[in-house]
Structures are given as structure tokens and as C-alpha cells.
Amino acid sequence: MSILINKETRLLVQGITGKEGLYHSELMRAYGTNIVAGVTPSKGGEWVLDEKIPVFDTVQTAMEVTEANASVILVPAKFAFDSIYEAIDAHIPLIICITEGIPAMDMLKIKTILKTSETILIGPNSPGVITPGECKAGIIPGAIAIPGTVGVVSRSGTLTYEVLYAMKGKKIGVSTCVGIGGDAIIGTGFIDMLSMFEQDPDTEKIVLIGEIGGKDEELAADYITTEMTKPVIAYIAGLTAPKGKRMGHAGAIIEGRAGSALQKIELFRKAGVKVAEYPEDIPALL
């Protein structure tokens, strides 16, 4: 078992004919992901990936023809609002948006649209989701995680790879690893992921990788206290980050008095969460 994606996932790739789209689609397919279709406006009718995957002009047609049940979005930021809304409008159950640099206003609108939709949006600015051995949707390197019972959820990309890699080094496997994205406005936060992992029978422990900015870790700490029975191990990046400076991720900024790493770490500790000092320590805490 796993959360979000598994062997049954029939993946659509929006932006499949772009450079990034093609490259990562190849890697996903090589991993064993069942990519059923691609969408690129005005490239409908073409075939990609050894002429095996059909490209459609619209998500609606792609879903009608291929019964896709999840979509990875790899389009440039300026087209992302249209692509995400298109996928929501077509009632796809899951969207994983890799695209980075989407204007905040576009995401605020998408969040409002999501309120009346059943679709789950992961990202944007997410490295994707991987259920080792079953399905990889996004750009997380497939080789760095092995199947297992630890759920991983993170706002970061390469930092998560570090953790997965360290876990693999200690032969600790992963049920599903979800990158929720480094932007300030994202589709799904920690709490929803924690709740899914709590309900997933094959996840025994959860690793949460947070960072400065926002209140998502603070809310997660509350949630863990009241709702979680499974142990959570956390790591928070940005202890040394100065106030008011955006640290790469659009969401990684200490604004005024909120969002410091120290505060997040303290709240997690109060919630009974083991907090790792170094990412490499995580395997030892598991």
C-alpha cells in the first residue's frame, strides 16, 4: 500500500512534448510508471516515448480516451494556471505540479477553485511523488528510495533526496514520498499528508521535512498532538536563515515574527516529534 499513487496509477503528463516533459517522462516510464497519455496544446495526434504514448490537445480528451487518473504538470509557469485549472475542470483525482515560479495570484485563484472540487493538488514547485517499486510521478530520482514502511513528506527537493538516500543507506524503505512543494501557496499541506499516512496501513512511521516560512509545520505539530498515532520524525531547514530574505523557495522566508526554524522545532518537540539535527541523523531516529 501507499498513498496517492501506486501500480494502478494511470498517469497523464501535461507538457509532455517540452524538453523537461519528455526527459522526465522517459525517466518515469523507465521506472515503471504507467504513463498513458500526454497533453500539449496543438500537438494532439502526435506520439512520444518511442511512439508509444499518445499526445492530446486537451486533458478532457486525454482522460476520455485513456482513463488517466493522475496528472503530472511540467509546463512553463506562465501556462500553469491554465493547465492546473484544465485538469481540475476535467475532474482528474490527482494533480502533481512540478512547475516552479507560478505567480502567487494564480495559485490563490487555484486554491479557491479547489474548494469546490474533489481534486487533490500536490505542489506546485514539487519534486513529485514516488511510491518505490510501483510508481514515480515527478522528478524524484527513482534509484534513491527502496520500498518500505516509512512515509516521507517534504517541502523540499534535493534535501529530500538526501534523506531518502541516507535511509536507503541504512536499508530503510519508503511507503510513499511526497514533495508538497516549496512555494508559499501550495495545493496540499503537511496535515493532509499526515492524515493520509495515518490511514495508510502500510505506513508505520512518517518523516516530515520542513523549512522556514509559513505556519504549515506549526499546524502539523498541533495535528500530530491531537490526531496522529504513528510516530513522526522531523527535520527543519533554515536555522541560519536571516529574517525577511527569501531562501530560494518562494515559501522559505521568515516574515516578521513568524516562520522561524527554531519555533517550528520547538513546537514539534512539544508535540513529541523527534527532531533531527542533521538530515543524515534521520535514519537513526527511525
Partner: protein
């Protein structure tokens, strides 16, 4: 992207938000001229992108053009919280009956635009929030519907605004919404003053533009004040590298923002001091790596460099090639470099670096420790 007060006010004016009459000046003699034109007492305001300007003497009243010129001369030589003053804004002095606060920004937790008003204007809104949270009203705005008049009325009631100012207040709030929805992530009037002579006036203005949305507002990109930013940051931006200057002595070159922060944190925890945050992004080319190293090497603070790469999209061999390029261009520079490569083509990367005889590290801690010890050795 933060913009200067005078730039924000220029935008306010476009949206018909009342501001004091005034002009920006690059030198003191022009300040005198502006003061003469304004004809009465003026306020001289240092244009720096940093808070605490008032306390630091960056806002001063001048009774006549002579005094304005003197103040400006003094100010232009100042540094305010580390930022040199290159420009001042000269404005008519406005009589202040009451100072209010009004802003539209983004509420991250609710993923919503939020309009905030307070009758505690003129001070930092977070200070106000601590002193008198009940005096701050926050109303979420549906981004698809926009700000509505009834919401503005609720604010007006909450800050006890006299009725005669409601119409103007509504117009100002609507203007702020227009500015915000055109991709400002924050637009703040603090204080919004009630003046006997002029009614409501935006005495100070602050505005942050969403960098991600600059593609649809090319005119706003021109507002970036390169003067005011750290020169390394400006340089990095040219190459699409995210860089934040710090005060330590170990330069960092990392792929990914989270990993870059973690790298800084680990250096600190192990007793070192990072000189910067640097994220070269995903799938960086050798040229980009070389440019990044070039920036680190030009920083006199930097006594050692830690390269920490987790190859995913990023290929470690490409990174290694970039390092080789930079070292060959900077062969006179003797800054020690610790390199850690994992993931895609890491072995090929290390092979390329063999000739350079660089210290390598395989774990995160090891890399940090080596960099610290090398920076320390050099310091002595």
C-alpha cells in the same frame, strides 16, 4: 521584489491614492530646488529598502530649503542598517490628525488575499498586533470575487473612521486591491493619515512585487533598484542563481533551496559560519557552476568553499566540469574547495575532479567539517 517608497507612491498616484506632493532627488542641490518649489516645510526621507528608517534618522523635517539641503547632504552620506542612502524623497509636510494603517497582503495559512486595517498606524503592524490585537481588523478577500465595498465598510467601522472620510477610504482600499491583484504580494500604507487640510493621505508606502509574475508586468521589472541590493546578489541573478549574502566565511554552492539551507545550518552547528546561501537550481550547466564559483571567489569574506550537490536532474559530471572551468580561470586564487557529489553521475564527477586534487567528502557532516577546518586553517 521590494520597491522604494517613491516608486510605490508613483504607483499610488497612478491609482489615484492621495499622496503628499513631492519628488525624489539624487543630490542635495536638487533637494533644495524641490523644497523651494514646494514652498513650505518639507520632509526629507532616505530611500532605502530596510525598516527602522525613522529611528535611524532617515526621515527629517526641514523648515526651509536651506535646511532641506543640509539634511539631504548629511543623509546622502549615511548608511541605514547597512544600506547606503543614494536617493531621498522630498515631500510637503502634511498636518497629521490621526495615523491609520491599511494594507493588502497574502495570508499564507488561509491561502487568501487579506486586507488589514488598524487605527494604530505609523508603527510596525506586528508591534501593533502585540500591543492591541483587538485594534487590528483582517478581512480575507476571495481572489476570484475581489474586494467588495461592504468589506471596506467593515474596516471603516472597525477603525472608527469618521464618516466624511468613508468615500475616499473606499476609493483607496479599492485602489490597493487593483495594485495587489496585478501581482503585488504586499501593498501597505503606513501611516495612512487623516489630515485636517487634505483628508486621507498615504504618508508612507511599501510595496512588494511578486517576482514570479514579472513576465506579465515588464514595466514593473524596471523598478528593481540594483543600487540597493548586494552586488553578489545582483550578479547571481544574472545567471539565474539564487544567492543570499551572509556574514560568515564559508562559501556554499548547493543545488536546491532546502539542501542549501541545510548546508548552511550544518556548517553553523559544526561551529562554522556560512558566507552565503547559494542555490544553482536543477540541471545546472558547467557554465552556471563556474559563474557561481566566480561569485564566491570574488567575495573577500570567503575563506573556503563547500560544494554540496545531490544529483537528480543535476548531473554531477557537469558540476565537476564547472568546477574545473572555474579553477582554471582562477588559478591564482588559493581558496580551498571541499566537494561532495552524490547521485546522478557522481562517480564520473569525482573522476573529473581527480586531477584537481580537491578534498572530497561523502557524507554531509564530513563535508561540513572539512570545509570548517580548511576555512580555519586559512584564517590563521
Amino acid at each position: 521584489m521590494k520597491i522604494q517608497e517613491y516608486q510605490a507612491k508613483h504607483i499610488f498616484q497612478k491609482y489615484e491614492i492621495p499622496i503628499p506632493r513631492g519628488q525624489v532627488a539624487l543630490n542635495a542641490s536638487f533637494v533644495r530646488q524641490i523644497a523651494e518649489d514646494l514652498g513650505d516645510k518639507v520632509v526629507v526621507k532616505a530611500q532605502v529598502l530596510v525598516g527602522g528608517r525613522g529611528k535611524a534618522g532617515g526621515i527629517r523635517l526641514a523648515d526651509d530649503p536651506d535646511e532641506a539641503e543640509d539634511i539631504a547632504t548629511e543623509m546622502m552620506g549615511m548608511e541605514i542598517n547597512g544600506f547606503p542612502v543614494h536617493k531621498v524623497l522630498v515631500e510637503e509636510a502634511v498636518d497629521i490628525k490621526k495615523e491609520l494603517y491599511l494594507s493588502i497582503g497574502t495570508d499564507r495559512t488561509n491561502a487568501s488575499p487579506v486586507i488589514i486595517a488598524s487605527e494604530y498606524g505609523g508603527i510596525d503592524i506586528e508591534d501593533a498586533a502585540e500591543e492591541a490585537p483587538e485594534k487590528i481588523t483582517r478581512i480575507l478577500i476571495d481572489p476570484l470575487i475581489g474586494l467588495c465595498d461592504f468589506q471596506i465598510r467593515r474596516l471603516a467601522v472597525s477603525i472608527d473612521l469618521p464618516r466624511k472620510h468613508w468615500k475616499k477610504f473606499t476609493q483607496i482600499a479599492n485602489a490597493l486591491w487593483q495594485i495587489y491583484k496585478n501581482d503585488a504580494s504586499l501593498v501597505e500604507i503606513n501611516p495612512l493619515v487623516i489630515s485636517e487640510q487634505n483628508g486621507l493621505v498615504a504618508l508612507d508606502g511599501k510595496m512588494t512585487i511578486d517576482d514570479n509574475a514579472l513576465f506579465r508586468h515588464p514595466e514593473l521589472a524596471d523598478l528593481r533598484d540594483l543600487d540597493m541590493e548586494n552586488s553578489f546578489e545582483v550578479e547571481a541573478q544574472k545567471y539565474g542563481i539564487t544567492y543570499v549574502h551572509m556574514t560568515g566565511n564559508i562559501g556554499c554552492l548547493v543545488n536546491g533551496a532546502g539542501l542549501a539551507m541545510a548546508t548552511m545550518d550544518i556548517l553553523k552547528l559544526k561551529g562554522g559560519e556560512p558566507a552565503n546561501f547559494l542555490d544553482i537550481g536543477g540541471g545546472a550547466s558547467a557554465e552556471k557552476v563556474s559563474s557561481a564559483l566566480h561569485i564566491l571567489f570574488s567575495d573577500p569574506q570567503v575563506k573556503a568553499v563547500l560544494v554540496n550537490i545531490f544529483g537528480g536532474i543535476t548531473r554531477c559530471d557537469e558540476i565537476a566540469r564547472g568546477i574545473t572551468m572555474a579553477l582554471s580561470e582562477h588559478n591564482h586564487i588559493k581558496i580551498p574547495l571541499v566537494v561532495r557529489l552524490i547521485g546522478t553521475n557522481a562517480e564520473e564527477g569525482y573522476k573529473i575532479l581527480e586531477k584537481q586534487n580537491l578534498p572530497v567528502a561523502h557524507t554531509f557532516s564530513e563535508a561540513a567539517e572539512k570545509a570548517i577546518s580548511l576555512s580555519g586553517v586559512k584564517k590563521k
